[in-house]
């Protein structure tokens, strides 16, 4: 059995954040906890596990690979992950987190139960909360679940890519064309500069044939997309806000459901959507966000909800394909369910330089 140390801090005046320890959960670990082998060889950022002198898999700590992914608490959930040589997860163990799950009536065991569904999963699969990963064990802790899922899969994919288990072909760098063409909303959609996710209540198995969500998104750093969608002024202001290597997308929707959700109000993180490119994932925080209330392009519908989101960091390749992931909660009877959707996006060739 594993020894679990749950640190429960008491306050000492003048010790600063002493009280925060109450929310912190730290556990002891060893590589063997997540990969059944006897011998480990430490490498840079991971362990190789050997069974009878044969490489059996890898064990790694998430903070070495995806430290920037932070949960509701604003802190990274440090996770020990094991993976065999075919890319199947062999074990997952959270070794530190301060997610305030206790606030929503959950116990630490619920969190551990959530993690129990990962062993046996293939990292090449499309696994998101609502698709292959169930939120049942920690219903309500959506941000925690979404971020924890991203931590496990992205860390694993990064290690897999690093060790040659899977190979990502780096996109050929292409410049975005600065040439501006005036395009209507419908022209932007038909040229696939703007992509759409449309879900009816019928498709979710709930009553009626209402639009549950009719969502549009696209990269706005392309002048022929951004200037048409945002108008001259907001387009310029958006471009001016970007640091080197950053990009920006817009999302706008109509329908009953909200892509923004409300997790960002207190947690600062948008838990219902993210983008993914090869082994890299990008979640969005409130500091990456500006409200968008109307679309300037001709023929554009009025929108119920919209936002401009900056893709932070400098490793996002706006010229390469990426996936837009959306997780939508809905109620089936009294029960909260989740369904996720993914759409591939690539800037149309005409907006990239030859």
């Amino acid at each position: 059995m594993l020894m679990i140390i749950l640190i429960f801090g008491f306050c000492y005046p003048l010790t600063g954040y002493g009280q925060w320890k109450m929310f912190e959960h730290r556990y002891e670990y060893k590589p063997g906890d997540v990969l059944q082998t006897s011998r480990f060889v430490e490498k840079n950022g991971y362990w190789e596990g050997y069974r009878d002198d044969k490489l059996a898999g890898y064990v790694f700590l998430s903070q070495d690979w995806t430290k920037k992914l932070i949960g509701y608490s604003g802190k990274h959930m440090e996770t020990l992950i094991g993976m065999d040589t075919s890319g199947i997860i062999t074990g997952v163990k959270v070794i530190f987190h301060s997610e305030p799950i206790v606030l929503i009536g959950l116990k630490e065991k619920n969190f551990l139960d959530f993690l129990d569904q990962y062993p046996g999963k293939d990292i090449r699969q499309d696994l998101t909360v609502g698709k292959g990963i169930s939120l049942d064990a920690i219903t309500g802790a959506t941000v925690t679940a979404v971020v924890q899922n991203a931590i496990i899969l992205r860390s694993a994919r990064k290690v897999a890519s690093h060790t040659g288990l899977i190979e990502y072909v780096k996109g050929t760098k292409r410049r975005i064309s600065e040439k501006f063409t005036e395009l209507s909303w419908n022209e932007l959609i038909s040229s696939e500069a703007i992509k759409n996710i449309k879900v009816t209540t019928g498709e979710l198995g709930i009553e009626g044939k209402d639009i549950y969500i009719d969502l549009y998104f696209g990269i706005v750093t392309v002048p022929s997309i951004g200037r048409n969608v945002l108008g001259e002024k907001l387009f310029k202001a958006t471009i001016n806000r970007l640091k080197k290597g950053e990009s920006a997308i817009f999302i706008a929707s109509n329908g009953k459901a909200s892509f923004k959700g409300s997790g960002f109000a207190r947690g600062g993180i948008f838990e219902r959507f993210s983008i993914e490119q090869q082994d890299r994932g990008y979640a969005f925080k409130d500091s990456d966000y500006n409200i968008l209330t109307d679309i300037k392009a001709e023929d554009a519908p009025s929108i119920k909800e919209g936002g401009l989101f900056i893709v932070r960091g400098n490793d996002f390749e706006s010229y390469s394909p990426f996936k837009f992931n959306l997780v939508l909660p809905y109620r089936m009877g009294g029960k909260k369910e989740f369904k996720s959707f993914s759409v591939e996006y690539q800037i149309p060739d005409r907006f990239l330089e030859k």
Partner: protein
């Protein structure tokens, strides 16, 4: 009490204007038929503009409203007319802790009552630049500056030598280097024991036109005049500022103030003021350079006679005209600004700058503009908003009295409810006046809202002005008593407003919790990070002078923390990354809970700590 012997005013020429006004009143109002049937059903542009802003959508304009004797500024979303925020300025405000914290007390200097009338924004080339707001305090004669990025007062200037700091206007061109403020009440100068012989001699009471450096927030100079200085305006070329005066009589009673049948629009020449300052032609009174602008003693200003007891002066967005409202005359006076140079040069008489004096209605107070050549004037006694065409008024003036009698300039008359004071259209005080919405700030709501007792709200009425007729669409109650407002396009302001404070802009920002004692002075430095204060208890001794400095370390947008000390009358709020401090004497022994007042977290109620005052 009137002393008008010295003015060089051509009475016959004046009557050319004033006389017509009297005639119009006497003869009754001859309005075009369609103007009387003005309650139009829809805008002539076809699609109706809606004031309804659906959930999740945002308003098109930031409305900045003064708060009158609440001493604050309010931010109203236009066209929904929802109150979005209040900026405490000259008042004590427990919601934010203004007047309670050391930072705000340093600005208020013991005066936490005020009377704000006119809010205006800083300009670059006749358009708002989104940097500052300025507002007057008529009560304690101050001018405050609000930085728009935090929507918070950053400077308060006490203006010496004046009372009734009223009309305020920033320089519009090339940018706001100067702000002018007028003193509505004449007083002795200086008004202290050294000048007590003037106390009982109103002839030695003076008005002041004060010029303030907008960046330094310091008085540049004051121009002393005999008259009182009521409302203020600046032109669009950076050449002039002006004020209306309704007490050229130096009266101290109503009847005295009403004695003369004309008063003035006084125009100040900035080039000459700069030259006089450079030449040292001033006296220093209470640390301020005071220039002599008195009648017959100065070339710094000219006096354009207007019908008695005028009120507002507003400049048309094309920069061509100043429109002065008659108040007790049913007319407005249109002054062509391009003629001012000739008047200052003595080539024409001041009254020759007047190009029209159209009939408007009983009690015209203020004028605003739609950017399409029309003016809309608030008419107090009639309780109307009157839309009129400036070019047509000038044309009729040229044609003569018969043409004028037909009131060809009047486009529409809208009844309002009731007794309008200021009036303002969207962007109307800029060269980008867009003629979309009009707000009539009515002083009396009477029966327009649920009866809330004897003290009733004001009634701000919104009208769509995109069509030929004014289309009244919405009433909104406002707590006493906004006087004036401006409405600024959202795209100008929104990108400049910050979500969080720059933590280290405050020199005392706390990063490490500590309690330090120096004799009887105890300094407590503490962080707040929902739902936890950085300290769980603080112990002091009875009689200690305690300074509590708190920094909110949350970065999340809209995550504020409150700090309240039970039974110590201390309460303030910290926005994300903000620091505030309070200093007080721990005079009551006991255990006092310090708690968070601003709902911050699921464990907000548990966000508290003990403040123990030992015997």
């Amino acid at each position: 009490m009137s002393d008008k012997k010295s003015h060089k005013f051509n009475r016959r020429n004046f009557l050319k204007f004033a006389g017509v006004a009297g005639l119009a009143t006497g003869a009754g109002v001859m309005l075009p038929k369609d103007a009387l049937l003005a309650r139009s059903e829809k805008s002539s542009k076809g699609k109706k503009m809606s004031f309804d802003v659906p959930p999740g959508q945002l308003d098109d304009y930031y409305g900045f409203w003064s708060g009158g004797h609440t001493g604050e500024i309010r931010i109203i979303g236009v066209p929904s007319m929802r109150e979005i925020h209040r900026i405490p300025v000259f008042n004590r405000e427990c919601g934010s802790g203004w007047g309670i914290t050391n930072e705000s007390k340093k600005l208020l200097r013991g005066k936490d009552a005020g009377d704000t009338h006119h809010v205006h924004g800083s300009y670059v080339d006749g358009m708002y630049d989104g940097k500052y707001l300025f507002v007057n305090d008529k009560l304690n004669n101050r001018v405050a500056r609000i930085r728009i990025d935090y929507m918070e007062v950053d400077r308060i200037l006490e203006v010496p030598n004046i009372q009734g700091a009223h009309g305020l206007f920033p320089q519009r061109y090339p940018k706001t280097d100067w702000v002018v403020v007028n003193s509505e009440f004449q007083t002795p100068v200086p008004n202290d024991a050294s000048n007590s012989k003037a106390f009982n001699n109103p002839q030695e009471y003076y008005g002041m036109h004060t010029i303030i450096d907008a960046e330094r927030m310091a008085v540049v100079c004051q121009i002393q005049v005999d008259e009182n200085c009521d409302l203020a305006a600046t032109d669009y070329k950076g050449k002039y500022s002006m004020c209306t005066s309704y007490n050229i009589e130096k009266g101290v009673t109503i009847s005295e103030m009403l004695a003369s049948d004309f008063d003035y629009l006084i125009v100040f020449n900035w080039k000459r003021i700069r030259a006089a300052l450079a030449a040292g032609k001033y006296k220093t009174i209470n640390g301020v350079k005071v220039l002599d602008g008195r009648m017959g003693k100065s070339d710094l200003n000219i006096r354009i006679p207007v019908p008695k007891n005028p009120h507002g002066v507003n400049i048309s967005p094309d920069g061509k005209y100043a429109v002065v409202c008659g108040k007790v005359s049913p007319t407005t006076t249109v002054v062509e600004l391009d003629r001012l140079d000739d008047a200052f040069a003595g080539k024409i008489k001041p009254e020759d700058c007047i190009v029209a004096q159209p009939y408007i209605g009983l009690g015209p107070l203020h004028t605003t503009f739609d950017g399409r050549g029309n003016a809309i004037t608030s008419v107090f006694i009639d309780s109307t908003n009157v839309k009129w065409n400036i070019a047509k008024a000038i044309e009729a003036e040229k044609k003569g009295e018969e043409a004028k009698k037909k009131n060809p300039h009047i486009v529409d008359v809208l009844d309002i409810h009731y007794q309008v004071g200021h009036i303002m259209a969207t962007m109307a005080e800029t060269k980008g006046a867009d003629g979309k919405w009009l707000v009539s700030l009515n002083k009396i709501s009477k029966d327009r809202f649920l009866n809330v007792g004897p003290l009733k709200p004001e009634n701000d009425q919104l009208s769509d002005i995109t069509g030929e007729k004014l289309r009244h669409v919405h009433d909104s109650p406002t707590y006493i008593e906004p006087h004036d407002c401006i409405m600024v396009r959202r795209d100008i302001i929104e990108p400049l407003v910050k979500h969080r404070y720059d933590m280290f802009e405050h020199p005392l920002a706390v990063t490490k919790n500590s309690v330090k004692r120096k004799g009887k002075n105890v300094t407590v430095r503490m962080t707040a990070n929902a739902p936890i204060f950085g300290l769980q208890e603080v112990k002091v001794k009875k009689g200690d002078k305690v300074t509590l400095i708190v920094t909110n370390h949350d970065e999340i947008v809209d995550l504020s923390n409150g700090v309240a000390i039970s039974n110590y009358n201390i309460n303030f709020v910290l926005g994300p990354q903000q620091t505030k401090s309070v200093t007080f004497t721990a005079d009551k022994p006991g255990v006092f809970w310090i708690y968070c007042t601003n709902f911050c977290h699921a464990l907000h109620l548990e966000m508290r700590m003990r403040f123990i005052v030992e015997v």
